[in-house]
Symmetry: C2
Subunit: 324 residues, 2 copies
Amino acid sequence: MSASHHLEHAALPGLAEVRTAAARLAARARVTPILRSDALDVLAGARLHFKCEHLQHSGAFKFRGACNAVWSLDETQAARGVVTHSSGNHGQALALAAASRGIPAHVVVPEGAVRAKVAAIEAAGARIYRCAPTQAAREAEAARVADATGATMVHPYTDPRVIAGQGTVALELLQGVPSLDMLLTPVGGGGLAAGCAIAAQALRPDLTLLAAEPAGADDTARSLRAGRRVTDFVPDTVCDGLRATVGAPNFAVLQACGVAVLTVTDAQVLAAMRLLWRELRQVVEPSSATVMAAVLAHPHVFAGREVGVVLTGGNVDLDALPFL
Amino acid sequence: MSASHHLEHAALPGLAEVRTAAARLAARARVTPILRSDALDVLAGARLHFKCEHLQHSGAFKFRGACNAVWSLDETQAARGVVTHSSGNHGQALALAAASRGIPAHVVVPEGAVRAKVAAIEAAGARIYRCAPTQAAREAEAARVADATGATMVHPYTDPRVIAGQGTVALELLQGVPSLDMLLTPVGGGGLAAGCAIAAQALRPDLTLLAAEPAGADDTARSLRAGRRVTDFVPDTVCDGLRATVGAPNFAVLQACGVAVLTVTDAQVLAAMRLLWRELRQVVEPSSATVMAAVLAHPHVFAGREVGVVLTGGNVDLDALPFL
């Protein structure tokens, strides 16, 4: 059964919206390479296809959703700019997407965000607003800025235009590797996981959908077990891109599509990050390494399978590498 | 005029040998991706196309030449194995190529080689022999091992099968980016630089051929100025893959093809290495960063041009990063 049979959420995108996003991104985003490593395949006991979204513009898949949202606006909306809250990658992506259309971007950044990411948001031309590192503080400050400026809110993961944009990752992976039998993404707020689930389930209903989540921010795993969103938690993980609470529409999609969540410890994430740097020779950030960590921590799930693995971002501070 | 008009060296490969190597490598080596970065293009004032040979099997372009050599041998020769001397990447590549044919590999390693590289040579199944870090000691020990074992010597850069194999990098770059007007490789012994020059000059005689060399091992630059090979120098550079003396046939090719050498300091190399990690998000070793350093150090040479840049290897010791 497809996700649309289970879901009533009016704002959710479907395959058609993902395809429209792909057309909109064709001239603006990169079709990122898919890399392989014999050494990592041996370690995993599986055939891994790494979709390199850390090589996307802005250094993260987030550019897809942000760019789709910015270029979906009509002229009047666009002229008033866009606003969001973000610990880094979505903010940088939205700033860059806004710059590509010549419109203002306002980004609310919680304290504790990676320094290099905040610098990149500013470098892309956005105006920065600081707030406390809680979900409530982020949303309140973003709403205040939206009211004050008339800018359109582009939520980092619940916005349907963002979810549709992130879903284009799955389109490209399935086109590049038609023989995939599993798709594995990290899950934080759930924009990528939900967008990919929507696209993948429509195109390949037989595909096994998996998400990797740090144990220190395992609200998605707990929410799926509880059958309802668990939002009362304080994230504690090195994965700075995955500290957000899974969104309501995102959770609905993950639940409807039967996405299974695998949790990994920060120690497993850091070991996997180092392994990706050494064997795949890719500079990825901790959040990206959750997927490799999940493959190694749950070998029975992946044994002998052909797995599409999404490396989500590569925005790290080389002066403060967490695995050294 | 093509290189073949100038050169009398019987052992030198031509375009035909490079094409034969490409056919031999088709099922065995990777067609590596070509990456771009808007940020690096802005810094360079040029359009840079990075050929990612650090993503080749064994983590370096060296696999191409080694694999071409190993699979050129007849059954009787092959059964007796192969021998070489190498500070790391060629040794690892030859070990891996030999393993792919199920034959023995013997590798002479000079003291001072990068620990991670020596470990990788052993892990690939080769037998290791240590020697003093001089050209004479390397060649003497390799000759001794060849005599003792009957193994075929596969010199890391003067062997014509190796030069032809390395030339396939230029074939792929020119096929991937037909609009190139410059080709830039590092130069150490000159296997890659000569192989690429042979292929590029035959296919695109208008292409500007450049090589980047560390100032602490600038024998190729001095040799071209002197009009003869300068071999009396002690290398002193962080680029562990570029400490060898340019080979006689290699020098002849570079001279005949009009390859211009740009020298860079170790400080420039380390800054460029860090930049490639941060902006291109690729784990490359110091030798690979010479090309980016040359682009930044000689901006007038590259301004407005479309440049094919070869990133040669990614075998670094993450516990001993030279730029931290």
